[in-house]
Symmetry: C2
Subunit: 116 residues, 2 copies
DNA sequence: CCACTAAATGCAAGATACTGCATATTGTAG
DNA sequence: CTACAATATGCAGTATCTTGCATTTAGTGG
């Protein structure tokens, strides 16, 4: 049973020990994010992003919600969120302008414009 | 500069994402530990232990102090100590009986016997 | 039905990590 | 010096991870 603690820790550390996965999680802790947004922010091809998302999803660290053609991922592992805060500091506020054309980003854009 | 934060986090997570290294660090956070003790606790050949110690040493997470034939390692990265406490809980007390024949373990044994 | 878009999946080549083992180094004692 | 013990290092085979790319699946609109 004590072995399981080690195993779980190793598993989570391994997920975080990857530059792209770490940046994905850093984006996700700001809130729900679509795949196209991650693609734009990280500058990597979509299949590559989806692969890393799968790794994180199958490990139970993130979860996806499908809305039409778009899938919005969010961070669901609080221990991971906590490790990110410790190692990367508090999450920065979301980008002022949307980097993709998904409906949610468009909504954010409208509310931002209306406010400014 | 923000990139560097990611890089440093990835480096540390990678070090911790290895079962043997994680258990070595878990032992070391109890206090200074000789290589022969680690060898006995982890049940792995000495060259293998030394290799993992080198990885941790070159990353600056641990440091070694030489005393005669023996080398005593200790945890020097406070961020690593902190991650260990979060993921593994508080460090357990050291084993009641010495598992190796190094002078320091012998001293511990004497004080333990004298106390009990 | 078709065309189109967002996302997911499968696969393979290349890079990297893991680990066993032989050997070297360092220090002690005689 | 020799003999011995604790630790370190080098190297090689294997396993695992990474990553690019082609393809597939799912959802929308005509």
């Amino acid at each position: 049973m004590s072995e399981d603690v080690y195993h779980r820790a190793v598993q989570l550390f391994r997920l975080l020990s990857h530059p792209v996965r770490l940046r994905i999680l850093d984006e996700l802790r700001r809130g729900e994010t679509c795949v196209c947004h991650l693609e734009a922010v990280l500058g990597r091809p979509q299949p590559y992003i989806s692969q890393q998302l799968r790794v994180l999803r199958e490990a139970g660290v993130i979860a996806g919600r499908k809305h039409g053609l778009f899938v919005y991922y969010r961070l669901v592992d609080e221990r991971a969120r906590w490790l990110l805060e410790e190692m990367l500091g508090p999450g920065r506020p979301p980008s002022p302008e949307p980097l993709c054309s998904c409906p949610q980003c468009a909504v954010d854009e409208e509310s931002t414009s209306a406010r400014g």
